[in-house]
Point group: C2
Chain length 627, copies 2
């Protein structure tokens, strides 16, 4: 079956990618843009910058001290290959297939006879293999190669890419196995790559190697660095940690691997450790958008409650990685809190990153932009953390290919099955054609304009004499949702709303989620947004942009009336606000509180955060001071 994650067991089973297809809507259109623009965009930038030619240079024995790109640039090629594999299977697009062959050939030529494959280390003029495990990213690169090979294996079968990956994985097992060097990579990723590659090939030894890497971590196996070993999660063994810390993408890739290993080894202690870390991190270290990573300095989690909106890092890749963790936890436990967080992260991190044309991206996703950014030059490489404008490519360019592989396989996350039926988690126009154990057909078509509308219409496409259960996720925010079936409408609570019967073709079940915009209040311990409210509408976090305010700089002074509920308007919401003039002082810490000043009330429009800065550079805020 074709899916990015296929555990051998669990409370929920993923659908195969051939069993579900997006038929338009919010995500279908993004998947199309990804296919028609982003994939070629990524390949062309990597060609232009020499990241692809790095493979040729290794093959041609032409390496030397100068090498374009960071030590992890190989991984971008592999992430693009993974995206192309999903895309080729989704549409059969010959261009995607040709790109896979083209890239695979160049990658394959660079592999050493013993399976080692890396363009930065281990060749003439370059530092030796595994000479800088703290920051060299060699095993990280290999992990992404394995994930690409998994995609190819499951959608196409064994080919050159899979064979290259197998040799690379075997090399890793020989070098770092139980008899080998007791080391780990500074950036987790090999673990999640090995675990899934082991699943895909039915080779437990790869999963065992992933476990070995996991167990070595947290014991000071890596050298200490100024940021401390928490940066790469080598400070505390993963079973003992209570919360995610350090570099967010590292922490989350590691957690994803831990779930895989826990499931395959039926290691409930390890699974429970990750669940515990998820719980505290979501309760205290996660932004309203689902974004993770509070600090620019180390691209990392901060302390509990350290969630500044302006300096939020919320790296797009951390959003991808958070979805990877939550999806695995959901498959293991069936708990919808995980698919709730996936929805939040999809709409407010993943959807925020790419531009409408799929050729520019946010790397960081702050919740407050004080000074409008400058438009990025579409022909230039940007520093990674400039958040004022989406950029065509970055010096560290992990996010575009991560978005690409996520969107190409996005339909994987819509639904699950279990022995008794189908669970719909994310609402999008789609067709699902699956089977339950025993051959019971489960075929449904979903029609919805979600999240513009809260009405989700599920039509049974093929009847079955055997009863089964259709479950619909009611998000935690959706108090007041209703379900209509057979002419009867009933209230449904957040969680899973279930309908069990022998469905007939044409049966319709309609979920209505309340889409009135609503105020959201941060926990008082989140100091950085004290005295503020946010506005959400369905799964979308809304924001105010300077474009929609009467004067430049007005966003600095905006206060809103939290006593008047936000009003629903097409494309967003409206709240009552004022922009009282406040004096400029030579010293900004006066002896008395600022009054509310003058300035009349007016309607302040809010729009989805994911669309911010699409109309050009703007200042922006999600959390609005309460008058």
């Amino acid at each position: 079956m074709t899916s990015p994650v296929l555990p051998s067991h669990g409370r929920a089973r993923p659908l195969g990618l051939a069993q579900v297809s997006l038929t338009g809507g919010f995500w279908g259109s993004r998947q199309t843009v990804n296919a028609t623009a982003t994939l070629a965009h990524c390949e062309s930038w990597m060609e232009r910058l020499g990241w692809l030619a790095n493979f040729d240079r290794v093959a041609d024995g032409a390496t030397g001290p100068d090498r374009p790109g960071w030590s992890f640039s190989d991984s971008e090629v592999y992430k693009l290959l993974e995206a192309l594999a999903w895309e080729s299977a989704r549409t059969g697009d010959p261009a995607a297939e040709a790109a896979i062959k083209r890239l695979t050939a160049r990658v394959a030529r660079a592999q050493d006879p013993d399976g080692y494959l890396n363009t930065c280390y281990g060749h003439p003029g370059r530092p030796p293999r595994y000479s800088d495990l703290e920051s060299g990213h060699e095993l990280y690169n290999t992990g992404h190669l394995l994930q690409a090979a998994v995609a190819r294996l499951r959608t196409h079968g064994e080919d050159d890419l899979v064979r290259v990956a197998r040799r690379a994985a075997d090399h890793v097992c020989r070098t770092f196995g139980p008899e080998g060097r007791a080391a780990i990579c500074g950036h987790p990723e090999i673990e999640v790559g090995l675990a899934e590659f082991g699943r895909a090939l039915g080779e437990p030894r790869y999963i065992d190697q992933a476990r070995l890497f996991l167990d070595r971590r947290g014991h000071g196996t890596l050298k200490d660095i100024p940021l401390g070993r928490a940066y790469f999660q080598d400070d505390i063994p993963i079973r003992e940690a209570d919360v995610w810390r350090g570099h967010a993408v590292r922490a989350l890739y590691l957690a994803a691997a831990a779930v895989d290993v826990a499931v395959e080894h039926r290691d409930d202690e390890l699974l429970r450790a990750v669940e515990r870390q998820w719980e505290r991190s979501v309760a205290r270290r996660t932004y309203l958008t689902g974004g993770m990573g509070s600090r620019h300095q180390d691209e990392g989690f901060g302390e509990d409650w350290e969630l500044p909106p302006d300096r939020a890092y919320c790296e797009t890749c951390a959003g991808v990685a958070s979805i990877m963790v939550s999806w695995r936890l959901h498959l293991a436990t069936g708990d919808v809190r995980y698919t709730d967080l996936i929805e939040r992260t999809l709409y407010n991190v993943i959807a925020t990153s790419p531009s409408a044309d799929g050729r520019a991206f946010f790397y960081a996703n702050p919740l407050h932009q004080r000074a409008a950014g400058r438009p990025a030059d579409p022909d230039e490489v940007s520093p990674r953390a400039e958040a004022g404008a989406r950029a065509a490519w970055f010096d560290v360019s992990c996010c575009p290919t991560n978005v690409a592989r996520t969107l190409a396989g996005l339909h994987a996350y819509l639904a699950t099955t279990d022995d008794d039926g189908l669970q719909l988690h994310q609402y999008a126009p789609c067709e699902i054609r699956a089977e339950l154990p025993g051959g019971r057909p489960v075929a449904v078509d979903v029609e919805t304009a979600y999240p513009e509308s809260g009405t989700v219409r599920v039509r049974i496409a093929a009847g079955s004499p055997e009863p089964w259960t259709l479950s619909l996720r009611v998000p935690a925010w959706a108090a007041g949702a209703t379900l209509t079936e057979g002419g009867r409408t009933r209230p449904v609570e957040p969680g899973l709303a279930r309908v069990r019967r022998a469905f007939r073709a044409g049966d319709e079940i309609v979920l209505d989620l309340p889409m009135a915009p609503r105020f959201t209040w941060p926990d008082p311990r989140i100091d950085a947004v004290r005295g503020c409210v946010a506005v959400e509408r369905g799964p979308e976090v809304l924001c105010v942009e300077s474009h929609d305010l009467p004067a430049a700089g007005a966003l600095d002074f905006l206060v809103v009336d939290a006593g008047t509920a936000p009003r629903d308007v097409p494309g967003g919401a409206v709240v009552r606000g004022r922009t009282p003039a406040r004096p400029d002082r030579p010293w900004p810490y006066p002896a008395g509180p600022a009054g509310d000043g003058d300035g009349g009330w007016f309607d302040v429009p809010l729009r989805p955060y994911h669309a911010w800065a699409r109309r050009g550079p703007a200042s922006m805020r999600i959390f609005l001071p309460v008058s």
Copy 2:
């Protein structure tokens, strides 16, 4: 005359260090600890880490690829030499004099025949001279050598250190002069060093070279870096900039040099540019403590209003540098807003850094510590930005020697003269024995327990038949101050309170500053502390520490009653507060505001921020949420 800064003209003249001495009190005791503990502490760490031996290795031709310390470790030796020079002159301590000779001898041996002096570059096994101007710090090191030589020249006269510095300065002028390489150093400091060295030697060509460096800056003279050229102020010419940006210490050392050059070249446009930058940076980018630098990532200023208390960097060295700028601006303009800021920075940044024993230091000075730090091992080098505990030494250890040189020469900042009299700026027990033009003696003794008490008693120590004006700075916060002379008490406004007459020996003038603790409210645009108040008492910012709260974690929940004025208590203040229990939620963004919860009112003690963490690791906050 002996003083760190001696402009050729200006509205105010510094006193010579021989004309003023601290006789105890808050700063006198710190100066003594600095002399008896910190200076030897710094030398011993630099010996232990090999930073001193780096000079020997150059002299012995024993350099190689391995070299302990960062490229700027030489500068720590020079800053220590500067401190020792002030200290030797202050007390005549033979130990200080011996240390100067000892260190000078080792430094001098490492100088190349052409004057080049650097232990990191330009010798066998090391990168070539000036091969990395962006981050190599070579000219930065030389700048500190020149400042040390200025101290030695003014307190002692020409000696080996001065001769070494002269050769180094001449080398710099030859290499980077009008006919030389049109380059600058990534870290400003050479400019301020050259300017004062030129003043001290009466050699305008050094000042001209400083000007040349200043004028080259801001035109993309340095290579671009991921943080952008604003990091080292090479983004905008200094005359055109409106605000400080980028790395705070860099920005401030550069501004200090710009004032020096502006004064010596009578360049009012340049002086006004720095004043304008000071104004906006103080109004929008400065912490209540006077601390500057909002970001860890680049140790830099953030955007306007970006002043997070928890991630405040407020590097101790930026406090030193801010005082350098404000002092120069004050000497040029006579404006007391500059000495107001110096007072704030002295009490809340400089005094915060060293431990009571002078053997441990804060590098960063945040205004909010969420998790209590761990005590630093007095025998270990700490990462620089760990702020939970003062550390004996740092990997990047610029702050201890910067504190040392500032405290050793602190009496320089107490007072100024002009043609008409004496201006007292900082209140401390001291003796001043100066002369006005025409030989009029100005001799006063100051007695005060400031800042514990607000009473400052100025006694005339020598009468004069000629009238002169005694001016006392009334800080901007001191509404309600009074001045008593000849039995008459009158209110005085913030600014300078003046008494003009022919003083007789024994005359007493008493300034009474109101020391009742007071609430301070941040500008509403400082988003990170919305809904909070701070408490100040005189020049001291106060804070709440977890030591003084009934339960661990209570600081997370503390709210205070801003309707009840803070009460004065010995050693600080008390406010009325509560710690309402708040529920832990799985998702910290609920649909309604947090209530005030239960929990009775109690007295919350506050203490001076500069003393925080002296009783052991603690959580701490300055800005307190209002109930």
